[in-house]
Symmetry: C2
Subunit: 345 residues, 2 copies
Amino acid sequence: MLSSHAAALSDYLAGCRSLVREEIERLVPRRGKHRLLYELMLEYPLREAKGMRPALCIAVCRGLGGRLHDVIPTAAVLELYHNAFLVHDDVEDGSRLRRGKPTLHQVQGIPVAINVGDGMLALALQPLLDNTERIGLGRALHALEIVARMCRESVEGQAVELEWIRSGEWALSDRDYLGMVLKKTGWYTFIAPVLLGAAVAGARSRSVTMLRRFATLLGVAFQIQDDLLNLEVTGAAYGKEIAGDLEEGKRTLIVLHLLRTLGRDEAARARAALALPREQKHPEELRWIAQRIREVGSDRYARAMADRYAGKARAALERVRDDLPPSPHREFIEALVEFTVRRAS
Amino acid sequence: MLSSHAAALSDYLAGCRSLVREEIERLVPRRGKHRLLYELMLEYPLREAKGMRPALCIAVCRGLGGRLHDVIPTAAVLELYHNAFLVHDDVEDGSRLRRGKPTLHQVQGIPVAINVGDGMLALALQPLLDNTERIGLGRALHALEIVARMCRESVEGQAVELEWIRSGEWALSDRDYLGMVLKKTGWYTFIAPVLLGAAVAGARSRSVTMLRRFATLLGVAFQIQDDLLNLEVTGAAYGKEIAGDLEEGKRTLIVLHLLRTLGRDEAARARAALALPREQKHPEELRWIAQRIREVGSDRYARAMADRYAGKARAALERVRDDLPPSPHREFIEALVEFTVRRAS
């Protein structure tokens, strides 16, 4: 069953990816006097990536009876926002690699990277306004409201995380972590794609409520899996630095569990190692932390939590049977749940 | 006449400023869990400033017969966008002072400043959506289109300037400069405020065309005056560094004129001095450039150009008599033209 899920997933993703890529290339005018700027806006979107967010948006819309043609521009806009956030986040987090290549600010400098991100946010607005002619005023305005909310949530989540890092805050509960994750990545990775797909399809509010619950739960499972992968895999396979989260001093469920499980002295040692500015961090201390994570079982703790949230998400999805009957679109959404907690990249 | 103009101007600005400030404080939720983030979003908007952009938007709307109540949120949104651009531009330009105080990234660091700017852009969207209930769907969507265009133009203008600085480009004509200025500051300082005021009022297209011409011309005069002031006044009065433009290596009409007027050796010396990274610049070389600007008359050249553009703006405004009859609002707009080329800050 897992392998049929995996095949359905990769086919569906590939189909959506080419449609969305075409649409993005239509939206970003790679010609004329400002060619250089627009080419940089396409840098991240054209790098190899799964394109999970637009695919989810398309699947929800079509699964609920909406038309592919109606949802493509909105799905492309989602991908554009996602990539704009990545450009700015990479500067803010001091990340070096993105999708296996150097981050934009590493190559172009911080000033250009900030401006390119702003440009992507600016470009993303017009297709949402053009939605009025495609799907009608009511649905188009509703989609704009969702996007406005998505941007606010992402910025709030990023603010929480930056503040934790800046103030050296480590006394955090799982609940603090989950709240940050919901805002920083959950909203724009799962909640907004699902809500936008439903808005374009004009879904009934009962289904929307349940789909939103599904997206919220799946977002948590996804981020925990992301944290686990960041810790495990090598740079080549994952496209980011090895254990970049430890280098960046990120508060992950794994590290929070470790800190409250270690004895006082070891916890102090780990906090001190994580608190150093990135370029002053000692690799051997980070390796020690990674080793203690495995010994203490913080990774297994996180894995169990991810599985629990994925299970809850599955249950929520089960409750949207009437409006989202069996179809290739529903099959993709179901496969996405399995992928979220089983993926290796 | 100048003094009555000046009084009309400062009264009108003061009246608009308090209304806009109130509205901004309503839009930015300074409470709850994310209080810190929202307080930083208010940092620039609450610093002492003229508030010219929202006042122009309000004056155009009311002068054309629109209602104050209808235009306030849109005027506040303009001010919010303006301040978001300032936050990001200050990072991109490496500026140290803004309105007499340290720039946001100097105090909070670059990561927080980028995120705060993004947050302001995100917040600015909702009031434009709420416009649908205030001024109707057609006008609200039109206002959104203007804002989307404004953001694109600003980013393109900023990209042009960053590219000039990065590639060491100095072989630029006045026309190159004017094109960049129109996009980088003209659009969001004059064109968008005027178009938004007219959109909220539901102005006739003939008047809109002429007002847009007025705004385009005035924007050029304003930026040249800004460049002149940057060169002349001291940090205390102007709220920026002394000759910060020279430190930042900005291509201004003044410097471009100087470079093509100097002999080959002196021009090479000036270019070399301006090309150094900011922290390596030699103050005595910058002082030499400022001195040669006065000796060669590049400042007088720019002053004459600013006056010429202001004169053309005045003539364009004269042609919108029917829809914009004499009123305190028109009086303010006229006073703004005089202020633009006579102001000392």
